[in-house]
Subunit: 224 residues, 2 copies
């Protein structure tokens, strides 16, 4: 049997959600845009039922807002959203990092280290976009290792909204070296079995909280 070609006869709902998610994240569909069921119906050549259910799925991920009897709109990420997210993301990623450190198996650490190597390559080549991508994967992998599914779910929602925020890349544009150095230190901590788990938690939480002021500054300066 041919096993390298992944089976993908998943339901229409998943395919549509995925397509829309990508379109929103890469800017094809802009924030505030209205998603009209009948338009997408033509575009995809399906009926409205799976589209409506895909909307609910996107809503769960925090990518769209559903206004009953009015329509579905791509969420506008505001400065206030970002401000609300930071303290939550900081403590939760901190906890996730500690749990990950406590529960990590060798194979899992290896995988993260591989991602780190990609970050390194991107950083050396000054490849902002690549760095941004692998940086995101790095955190995703760390969060996964925490094996706390509720934490994984919540952080996924918060982080996907972060991705919508294009300004994010500006942060790494200016301080790519700083960010890289920070993650290098993080990896050193993770590899040393003698590290105090609470220190890992603090380190990650602080790393995120420290990014906040500059992040918000970029919002004010560069957007609009």
């Amino acid at each position: 049997m041919n096993n390298n070609q992944q089976f993908k006869p998943i339901g229409l709902v998943d395919q549509i959600s995925e397509w829309l998610t990508n379109a929103i994240l890469d800017g094809t569909i802009k924030e505030g845009d209205r998603l009209i069921e009948t338009r997408l119906q033509e575009l995809f050549g399906v009926s409205r039922s799976p589209i409506r259910e895909a909307f609910r799925e996107l809503n769960k991920m925090g990518l769209v807002v559903i206004k009953p009897r009015i329509g579905t709109f791509v969420k506008r990420i505001t400065r206030n959203d970002i401000e609300e997210q930071f303290p939550i993301r900081a403590v939760l990623e901190g906890i996730a990092a500690r749990l990950a450190f406590e529960r990590m198996k060798d194979g899992e650490l290896d995988k993260i280290e591989k991602t780190f190597k990609k970050m390194k390559e991107a950083a050396e080549g000054n490849d902002i976009k690549g760095y941004w991508k692998y940086h995101h994967i790095f955190h995703d992998q760390l969060i996964d290792v925490s094996k706390n599914s509720m934490l994984i779910d919540i952080l996924q929602q918060i982080r996907i909204q972060h991705l919508m925020f294009k300004v994010a890349s500006l942060y790494y544009k200016e301080d790519l070296q700083g960010s890289f150095e920070l993650h290098r230190k993080m990896l050193v901590l993770l590899k040393d079995r003698k590290t105090d788990p609470r220190y890992v938690e603090d380190f990650v939480r602080n790393h995120i909280e420290k990014a906040r002021p500059r992040f918000l500054q970029y919002i004010d300066e560069d957007l609009f």
Copy 2:
């Protein structure tokens, strides 16, 4: 115009989600039960579309699990779920309490104090169920005052799953006085403008974390 009769021509989806939520929380529908679209269709006298969308809504709230092409089932809350929730709930409610304290207006404090009075009455009358109910409202109100909508959303999801866990009431059965005393202290802190916000955060976080061991003990002893 007659205004005391609340308008309720909300969509079918909301009505159905609400009905199902209550049925799940009060035990009419038990955990693990399968929710069959065609059955509910007869029960409510509506088509399957709003029912399917209501399922997605319940799924977002963490009350059901949707298995594609198989069916929708009421979530089974396991010991592991509770263990995953505690650290998250503790830090987030802590943050919520601090923010609430920092942003609280007089009217809002009054409302919380009224709820506390109901808790007091229930505690004095040894009315477990009533105490449990107002205790939940107390925390809800405090969380609302934090005005961090993301925090409010996440905590709502976590807390509703907690409600599904019937053992919860056992906790208060044994230690209703202790719980009451704790919330009395909390209210004192909230009323004193000189309290350090960080202390409010610690107090609430510790209060939740302290409950964990006994909570888990009840699970092991009394369930099944």
